[in-house]
């Protein structure tokens, strides 16, 4: 990495994300090698990541495991375990995002038996900015936006919404009370990200969840 020291200037030319990207490649190899499909779920705090995962846990049962990223507490992992899936909690102790090294460490503690496990869902720290730069080794990156947050959030956080594969719009049970324009949100997301796929759901009522879970299932059983 380091060239000869010539006079006083030392050439380095190293991507700052290279260490993260090496761990991401390791995670991809480990999980991919076992045929486990991996999701990275990113949203603001309170958009319903854990509620969506609870609903997914009821659909997939023990075929799914979840890595929970939170600043503090095991609360989310306990909710997922109650819904029927293995869960590992990463307490970041203040960090605003998960990185591939933290996920690598979590994986080393989990039961990754490919006979029973097909899907690994990683719930990132609630934040629309910092997680977007960190590849965790996922096969699919999902951005979750809930309708109370407003339909203007996509263009306000382009770094995230341009990097996702799938947009899930949650809390659709509240849509009649709000001014959220679903078509506008989808149009703006596609303008940043022409290949994005969109699902509208309510994790609370279950609306749209079967279609979304079926789509995820097709990614690894198709």
């Amino acid at each position: 990495m380091c060239d000869e020291v010539t006079e006083q200037k030392v050439d380095i030319t190293t991507s700052v994300m290279s260490k993260n990207d090496r761990f991401a490649a390791d995670n991809r190899e480990l999980l991919g090698g076992k045929g486990i499909y991996t999701l990275n779920l990113i949203s603001s705090p309170g958009a319903g990541k854990t509620a969506v995962l609870e609903s997914m846990a009821r659909f997939f049962g023990p075929r799914m495991a979840v890595i929970e990223g939170d600043i503090q507490t095991r609360r989310d992992a306990e909710r997922i375990e109650k819904a029927g899936c293995q869960a590992w909690q990463i307490e970041t102790g203040g960090a605003c995002h998960l990185d591939a090294h933290a996920v690598n460490h979590a994986l080393s503690h989990m039961n990754l038996d490919p006979d029973s496990l097909q899907l690994m869902a990683i719930e990132n720290v609630g934040n629309l900015i910092c997680p977007s730069g960190y590849d965790l080794g996922e096969d699919m990156r999902i951005g979750l936006l809930s309708v109370p947050e407003g339909d203007d959030k996509i263009l306000k956080y382009p770094s995230l919404f341009s990097s996702i594969n799938v947009l899930v719009i949650n809390k659709m049970d509240l849509i009649s009370h709000l001014d959220f324009d679903v078509d506008r949100a989808i149009d703006e997301c596609r303008s940043l990200n022409p290949d994005v796929l969109v699902f509208t759901v309510s994790a609370k009522t279950g609306e749209g969840m079967e279609e979304f879970c079926g789509f995820v299932e097709n990614q690894f059983s198709g």
């Binding site: 050439d11 991507s15 700052v16 995002h97 910092c130 341009s162």
Partner: protein, 121 residues
């Protein structure tokens, strides 16, 4: 994780000093650190500068000037196929005004080189 950093520019500043320390094989006072940031990297240059100044001092690299080469993103318009450069996510196609595009580059973030303080080489 990342020394308990609380925002991602602070994590990135720690990553930068780790990369510099590994490349040099030692901790020395630096005059200048040259980096490249793409406008679509999600990194705030001013926030990074603030964090790096503190981290470099704490980590034993002195008080180097952080020189940021801010590149332009390369995009291709999906409506008229024009390839163009932009300084942020919001700049549309200069040909047709569309913001429907594919990103070719603009997320890069590299430590390019460092310049040592006199008497350190």
């Amino acid at each position: 994780m990342n020394g308990g950093a609380t925002m991602h520019e602070l994590s990135l500043a720690h990553d930068m000093t780790r990369i510099i320390g590994n490349a040099l094989g030692r901790k020395v006072h630096l005059d200048r650190v040259n980096i490249t940031i793409g406008p679509l990297s999600g990194i705030s240059p001013e926030s990074l500068r603030f964090c790096f100044t503190e981290v470099a001092k704490i980590e034993g690299f002195g008080e180097p000037e952080l020189v940021i080469n801010l590149t332009r993103a390369k995009l291709i318009c999906l409506d008229c196929d024009t390839e163009y450069e932009a300084k942020d996510f919001y700049q549309g196609c200069p040909g047709c005004g569309s913001i429907s595009r594919r990103i070719l580059s603009g997320r890069e973030f590299t430590v390019d080189s460092v310049e040592l303080e006199e008497g350190n080489d």
